[in-house]
Symmetry: C2
Subunit: 394 residues, 2 copies
């Protein structure tokens, strides 16, 4: 039976500390506060809590998004620049539906969030990978790709990127490259879909300003979410855009017909935010995830050491570990699972399947620090137990 | 400011009894029961209530959908044939994204639900209208359209229809035509997107069996919803399809990435259903809407009489009124609003804007019976006060 008795998407195997999935720790979801907020939404709004909602989303949450972005981003949107979404996957789906024409070329950084590629290809769009380095997306390669497309009579319509605390690399796009990228999008006329889902999870001071905040109106659609900063199963996110583009979403057939896409859940988030709990919950998450990141990278130092390199991320969920020698990732994954842990092999995040052959993504979001350290010990043991490794030392 | 201080989509003008919008009466939304259900969902599931949800939707609500359809449809789906949605607008959006190729031809009955046309065209699909009569969609015209498309080297990929308690006409497709339509879809290889949102609102015994229940697997995707039978702002619906097609939705990029699209709200609906309140709420709605339909049609008899004709619908929200003489609908609408009521003019529901020139859609869902009678009196006054009408009698 396909659906079985499933409630949640991801059920951790009892025998694994599974660093593969970028999910929050269930123990960090503020269940009691959200339970109170749900009751408060019914108390405050009565039938309006469950009637057809305003297409762009209920005003109280839109106002909160504006106020919150004033604190954590380069500039605050006006309410008319915000449309609530059912999370970033839905947001990207709607960007693809409403802002592209089928067969358009979409540039994506490589490695990138692999499921975003699926969404884009389903529309269907032609996905063109652009490589990145330790300063993020290579903007000069974007310019080259745009040029080549134009030579062939084509056109880059969209660029999808996770510039802040990237999935899978954890890296943030350097500030000078941010400037270059929004300037290039303006001059070449493509839209940037900025996946900004990790902005709240900044562990070393302020996160970089969003591309949206740096660009002239009409260049960037930023996709933000309450999935990482609050709870993913509420399915509440938002996009910020210039007002005309925001209207293309709120006045499109889907929202015009069904009203706001996460109406009731959006009011629950609004009530939760109003009490001040949202802000304190984010502080708590930052502290806990910082501890987890530090535990993971310290364990990597101790257990993997010279065999690999990685960059400790300033935010988000992930550490991207690249091995110094050739790696048979399929075998390493099998060994890791035998040793009681797991990860995602690098090629998964490359749209063309090339690249990432020596890399793995480790998520530090799901388990407390001691378990992360144990997982890395198991990865270290897996590395040492590889047949090839033994042979090399023999 | 675009979003203003909006919470809900539709704010009734104080001076109108507005029969234009197909919205439920706020007084019929079971706020207390849903408030309890939200608390119960947190109590039962804890963090799982707001974690990433199972992509197809949580099993308890899928089971309920199966059990419920066993009661109100020709056959029950198995759990693997059900995927939960964020309502039918979202469901149709995803049907268009995942089951069509851009530029495909989609056949739609005319008149039909106007916002569905918007959703289909945004994908973009080529919308071809098929006329209907008092027995519903003219299936012989579907066959003709399919033939003509094939002659031109094209192909009908999808047919969108509201065969049960149609929006806007209130009519249900006759049983023999249902059989012909699913047979035609099977032989010609197009998919039927069956918008089945009004099934629960049947006022004269059992609703007709869905096209989905009558067809071989792989022919029909049925879109069902809790928007009309419970509360639209929860944004919870479902689709039923054969298992391979259901998997195309649950294993598509959007749900694979974000998990179940209305996870928390789906658990709220499941808790509400478990108490037995859902079934008794539907009985209450049927009784109340039946009374409203009867009040509206009795008032039409009394106030409009020979000037128009209509068919009293066996279910749903709408009565489709067609005037016997030429009508200037723009002027009639203006007069109606001056008299304190409103409606939707017929051409809105025709994809090509042709047709419906003498028809209007009246919704009886939003107001209690006495107010509906008053609204029809006002429409009667508007008809009498038309300049053309006076001239004809002068």
């Amino acid at each position: 039976m396909m659906n079985g008795d499933r409630i949640v998407q991801f059920i951790a195997r009892e025998d694994l500390i599974d660093l593969a999935l970028g999910h929050p720790d269930p123990d960090l979801l503020p269940v009691d506060g959200l339970r109170r907020a749900a009751g408060a939404a019914f108390d405050r709004y009565g039938p309006d809590a469950v009637a057809y909602g305003s297409a762009a989303g209920p005003a109280p949450l839109i106002s909160f998004v504006c106020a919150r972005l004033e604190k954590i981003d380069g500039r605050a949107p006006s309410p008319s620049e915000v449309v609530l979404t059912a999370g970033n996957s839905y947001g990207l789906d709607q960007v693809a539906t409403l802002l592209t024409r089928p067969g358009d070329a979409v540039l994506v950084e490589s490695p990138t969030y692999h499921l975003a590629i699926r969404i884009l290809r389903e529309h269907p769009l032609d996905v063109i990978p652009i490589s990145s380095d330790e300063r993020g997306l290579r903007v000069s390669e974007v310019a080259d790709a745009v040029f080549r497309l134009r030579q062939r009579g084509g056109r880059a319509r969209l660029l999808y990127t996770v510039p802040t605390f990237n999935n899978p690399t954890g890296i943030s796009l350097a500030l000078d490259r941010r400037r270059e990228l929004v300037a290039l999008a303006a001059s070449e006329g493509f839209t940037i879909a900025e996946d900004d889902v990790y902005r709240e999870l900044a562990y070393e001071g302020e996160p970089p300003p969003s591309l949206w905040s740096m660009a002239e109106p009409g260049i960037v659609v930023r996709l933000g979410s309450f999935s990482k900063s609050l709870a993913p199963g509420l399915r509440v996110g938002y996009l910020t855009a210039d007002e005309p583009t925001a209207r293309r979403f709120s006045e499109g057939g889907l929202l015009e017909s069904g009203g706001g896409i996460s109406h009731f859940a959006s009011l629950v988030v609004a009530e939760y935010a109003l009490t001040g709990e949202y802000a304190s919950n984010v502080l708590r998450l930052r502290e806990e995830y910082r501890r987890r990141r530090d535990a993971l990278t310290a364990a990597l130092d101790a257990e993997v050491g010279d065999a690999a390199r990685w960059i400790s991320p300033d935010g988000g969920y992930f550490v991207w570990v690249t091995m110094r020698e050739q790696a048979d990732l399929a075998m390493l994954l099998e060994l890791a699972e035998q040793h009681g842990t797991s990860f995602v092999p690098g090629p998964v995040f490359h749209p063309d399947g090339r690249g990432g052959q020596q890399s793995v993504r480790l998520a530090f979001s799901r388990y407390p620090a001691p378990m992360l350290a144990e997982a890395v010990r198991r990865i270290g043991s897996s590395l040492l137990s590889r047949p090839g490794h033994r042979a090399a030392r023999a």
